[in-house]
């Protein structure tokens, strides 16, 4: 069910692009597309993973954000030093709500901020000595930490510090991994390269650590959850479903994950990958080096959960397959009740999404389960392979936007009039002020989890509570409201 035809959507894109100067217009035109389900490859319709145009508002992050914030940060029993000036670490501290169990400051360090707090003299004379001192201090203050990762901020690359040699020396001295990660923020066009760099550093420093150690007892049902950052407890609500199926989850990458879990991952039978964009690199490596196959799955909304659980079970024997059916049957009453409760309240509502690496396509199924329709979707930092996967999920002639600019997003919203927008904190207040219900879909608007059957209940409640909130009827000032009997003035007049 498309609300707009192909030509209308195309015309909208043209109209929005009209304000740009010629050169910018040509560039941005490549990043906006009308979805065409008949296409096999996205590169025929959309360009992605390119440098943002100077002068437009983009919401992309940097390589440091991708490495420290996404991939390394949630590994709870290691200390991640934000090496460089204090701001990068402080302003991103604990913002992603990667939940974990443990005693913070004793054996886990997830919500703490460790930084080398560069001053002028460190820039002038180099910060290697300071880094060595920090690692020693960490060892003294937090002896239960399992390792240290050094997350470079921009100045480290600019002044040419040799953090690798410090790390190497300290690894030897402390007999704990000290891992230098070259994730300076200026690398690449978005956080996506940070994910890649972080994956490569895990590949080079962690994954092979137990190659000659067979003390770990394996079972035929070992799996690893990869690319689930446990935002609001997502990995936990996924994990219980896999465990109920009879699988043994050996590792969580990297939400609530530990260093030893990561080292054990090459010994599993199957890698389950949720966020393809940020962790496909390491999965590919493990497939090549250790022959561990990987599989993408999606645990948003009952339809996709059932599909994914069956797909995962198909990889194993019949016990697991019957268990998968049992799990789906067990929760059926629960999710049927949720759909019965919320679907009538949400039926036919239109949603626009603009999020990060997997959600613009993964959540579509959950919205459809609630009778809602996604009319536009886009990624901040996706590559073409993400769009390949998105084309099939999205309806025909819906809107696709890559690295959308603030202006374009607002214009699309004005034209498509969605009932809800799901995006990040930087967009939230703009759209709320425009009178459009908004969910912050990066960290579930401080709610969650949204994965799994338990998560779906919370997801449905949150969507209902956002869209059907009575405040949206109070967008017009009381003195501007028409008197009884007069026709309603258009909303735009009060905006």
């Amino acid at each position: 069910m498309a609300t707009m035809t192909r030509d209308e959507t195309q015309a909208l894109i043209q109209e929005v692009l009209e304000v740009y100067p010629e050169k910018a217009k040509n560039d941005r035109a490549k990043h906006l597309a009308v979805n065409d389900q008949s296409l096999e490859q996205s590169k025929k319709c959309i360009t992605s993973n390119r440098k943002s145009q100077p002068g437009v508002m983009t919401v992309r992050g940097c390589a440091y954000a991708g490495s420290k914030g996404v991939v390394w940060g949630p590994i709870k029993d290691m200390i991640h030093v934000s090496h460089g000036p204090v701001g990068c670490g402080q302003y991103s501290r604990a913002g992603r709500r990667n939940y974990y169990t443990g005693m913070t400051g004793v054996n886990t360090f997830g919500t703490m901020n460790f930084t080398s707090d560069f001053q002028e003299k460190d820039i002038v004379f180099g910060g290697d000595k300071k880094l060595a001192k920090i690692v020693d201090e960490i060892e003294q203050l937090f002896p239960l930490s399992k390792g240290v990762s050094v997350q470079s901020e921009c100045p480290i690359g600019l002044i040419g510090d040799d953090i690798e040699s410090v790390s190497k020396q300290k690894t030897k001295e402390l007999e704990k991994p000290v891992i230098a990660v070259r994730c300076e923020g200026f690398r690449g066009v978005s956080q996506s390269l940070g994910h890649h760099i972080a994956n490569d550093s895990i590949r080079d420093n962690v994954v092979h650590n137990r190659d000659n150690d067979n003390s770990f007892e394996t079972t035929p049902y070992d799996v690893a959850i990869i690319g689930d950052y446990n935002i609001g407890g997502d990995a936990w609500s996924s994990r219980i479903l896999l465990e109920e199926m009879g699988l043994r989850v050996v590792a969580q990458w990297s939400g609530d994950g530990t260093l030893s879990e990561m080292e054990l991952t090459p010994k599993v039978k199957l890698n389950l990958i949720h966020c393809y964009r940020s962790m496909n690199y390491i999965s590919r490596h493990m497939e090549e080096r250790y022959g561990v196959p990987w599989m993408e799955y999606n645990l948003f909304g009952p339809t996709k959960i059932a599909e994914s659980l069956r797909k995962i079970a198909a990889f194993f024997d019949e016990t697991i397959q019957t268990n998968a059916e049992k799990v789906i049957a067990k929760y059926q009453a629960e999710y049927d009740a949720i759909i019965a409760k919320y679907r009538p309240r949400l039926e036919g509502k239109k949603v626009m999404l603009y999020v990060g690496g997997l959600r613009p396509r993964h959540i579509i199924g959950a919205y459809e389960d609630l009778g809602m329709e996604v009319v536009g979707t886009g990624y901040e930092f996706a590559h073409n392979d993400d769009y390949d996967r998105t084309i099939k999920e999205m309806g025909d002639s819906t809107l696709l936007f890559d690295d959308v600019t603030g202006y374009e997003f607002e214009e699309f919203t004005k034209a498509l009039k969605p009932d809800m927008i799901g995006s990040g904190i930087k967009e939230k207040y703009i759209f709320q002020k425009m009178g459009i219900p908004f969910r912050q879909m990066h960290s579930w608007d401080y709610s969650g989890p949204y994965h799994g059957y338990d998560g779906f209940a919370i997801f449905a409640r949150d969507m209902d509570m956002t869209i059907n909130n009575p405040c949206w009827n109070s967008m017009q000032a009381p003195w501007l409201k028409p008197a009884e009997g007069e026709s309603e003035a258009p909303m735009a007049a009060s905006a």
Binding site: Q41, K43, H196, Y281, R284, E288, H383, D385
Partner: protein, 72 residues
Amino acid sequence: MPNVMIRKNDSGGLLFYVAKKDMEETIASVETDTSDAWGGAVELTDGSRWYIDPVSPPPSFPTTLRFKRAEG
């Protein structure tokens, strides 16, 4: 001369993945694909052509190989 990881997809076809470019394409045809060698000119579904000296014995996938961009 990029390093290319070749792996099998679910349907048994071969995927051609260049990590540096984040490019993943399906292989349309391989010049030599016998029991004792694999390689030669490789054509992808997007029409680009690559070359590798035939590897003997044929490698087991997934594996990383060095390809050359073929002319034309």
